[in-house]
């Protein structure tokens, strides 16, 4: 038997252990250093492949279990994005679900509200927008966009939402498409500014109606938009020379609107001190943090 044949046998063998090798192959290996070397390399290859590290699956399992729980009807079937998994909430939900068994679980699922599904859709859309904005290269943006856009669009079409939430969701969907192929930070900041404005209006409505849970959720979303979207985009815009009067005007307008958003947030807090104080105070603290590096005067 020649070396080529032996090596072919090794390459497609089930098991590379000595004991598993056919007798003729084992005999050949005793006297052929080249083939023994191939076997040794194959063993090393498999060892290394088995030991390749894999990132932690994170909260995706909990998010999946949660998505089963909120699935109510065929018309609203969809999948929660794992990156939106809130560890404690979803882990707790998963434990409860497993403990009470399938029947109770199904009953619980039936009680889930349409509002919950709508909230998660908006959360997903927002997270997607922020991921896109944070991506460094056009290739990364294109990949993030294409990996989620179709499912998000389906979720958006399937989930009923109140008009104000639908307006926000539609805007996030459109902004996602825009962000996938545009990187100008000034344009990006303007888009996140519009999103922040819509959220603040929703927050005002929720606090007026004393919907504390909704207010907390919106405050958290608003915080993400400012800290991961609007703020970084403004900072990037600031680092690019604003050599055209039109761009300088836009930047100044954005800074002024940013200050206005902070003022409105402060007003909300003053007016409704018991509504979502933690999230809102946190946001105000972040807004007023001088280390965030936003200056009122753009570079020229």
């Amino acid at each position: 038997m020649d070396c080529a044949h032996i090596q072919e046998q090794l390459l497609c063998s089930d098991d590379l252990a000595d004991a598993a090798l056919p007798a003729d192959v084992a005999d050949h290996l005793q006297t052929c250093a080249a083939c023994a070397g191939v076997l040794s390399r194959l063993r090393r290859l498999e060892l290394e492949a088995r030991e390749l590290p894999t990132p932690d699956a994170g909260n995706s399992r909990d998010a999946f279990l949660e998505s089963l729980a909120i699935e109510q009807s065929p018309a609203r079937r969809w999948v929660i994005h794992p990156r939106l998994a809130r560890p404690r909430a979803f882990a707790a939900a998963a434990l409860i679900l497993l403990a009470i068994g399938a029947a109770a679980w199904y009953l619980a699922a039936g009680g889930a509200s349409r509002a919950q599904a709508a909230d998660v859709t908006v959360d997903r859309l927002l997270e997607w927008n922020l991921d896109l904005a944070e991506a460094d290269t056009p290739e990364q943006r294109a990949r993030i966009y294409s990996s989620s856009a179709p499912a998000l669009q389906v979720a958006l079409n399937r989930n009923w939402m109140p008009a104000d939430q639908k307006q926000l969701a539609d805007k996030l969907m459109a902004n996602g498409a825009w962000l996938s192929s545009n990187t100008d930070p000034l344009d990006g900041a303007e888009r996140f500014d519009e999103v922040a404005d819509l959220m603040l209006k929703q927050l005002q409505a929720a606090t007026t109606a004393k919907q504390t849970k909704a207010a907390a959720r919106i405050a958290r979303q608003y915080q993400h938009v400012v800290n991961r979207g609007l703020g970084p985009q403004l900072k990037r815009a600031q680092s690019v020379p604003l050599d055209k009067p039109e761009r300088k005007r836009r930047y100044e307008r954005l800074m002024s609107r940013h200050a206005e958003l902070e003022r409105r947030m402060q007003q909300l807090l003053d007016r409704s001190p018991n509504a979502t104080p933690k999230e809102m105070r946190k946001q105000l603290k972040a807004d007023s943090n001088p280390e965030r590096g936003l200056e009122t005067e753009p570079s020229l």
Binding site: C12, E48, R50, L52, T54, P74, G101, S147, V154
Partner: protein, 178 residues
């Protein structure tokens, strides 16, 4: 493309929900690990893992108790991945981190484990889709070639052939790294 949404509008039964919850408890990480290796993209792998378990829930009647559940789930996972690739028509050209040495570069005498792992990742990424799936299913999941053949909807012999191609190309690509 992400976890694409189910084309079927059938509602999951209580039984299906209960089964898939148990399966997810035991096999989520393994399915995710395989899909991460196949996609080389964490987010895509997360979405496909969800898709895999949704498909499993929907097809739960086709699983025969007493047979290899893990192999069955891996088969669904591979199919979900291949379906997605067919839809995307994406050339697999995702860049690896900048510090990964080119496979043609002369290796240092003492290779850091991370460097070798990165070189292997790169080489695996250059394998044809089916060869990579077969190599992973055999090496990491230790499925038999018969089970692998079922997973990629081909024969046991064809699965072996893909394994031969995968091993041969990996040895070539890795050169003196191993």
């Amino acid at each position: 493309m992400p976890a694409h949404l189910p084309s079927s509008d059938l509602t999951l039964t209580e039984d299906a929900r209960a089964k898939v919850a148990l399966w997810a408890g035991d096999h989520w990480d393994g399915v995710f690990a395989l899909l991460y290796r196949l996609t080389r993209n964490r987010h895509e792998a997360e979405d496909l893992t969800q898709e895999t378990f949704l498909r499993a829930a929907r097809q739960n009647d086709s699983f025969q108790p007493g047979t290899n559940l893990r192999a069955w789930l891996m088969r669904i996972a591979v199919n979900a991945h291949l379906d997605q690739r067919r839809r995307q028509h994406v050339a697999r050209s995702e860049p690896l981190p900048d510090d990964v040495p080119a496979t043609g570069a002369a290796p240092c005498e003492r290779l850091a484990g991370a460097e070798l792992a990165a070189a292997l990742e790169r080489a695996m990424g250059q394998l044809p889709e089916l060869a990579r799936a077969v190599f992973l299913l055999r090496t990491r999941e230790e499925l038999s070639f018969r089970e692998i053949g079922e997973a990629i909807q081909t024969t046991e012999e064809t699965a072996r052939w893909h394994m031969l191609q995968a091993r041969r190309r990996l040895l070539q690509e890795l050169g003196e790294w191993i």
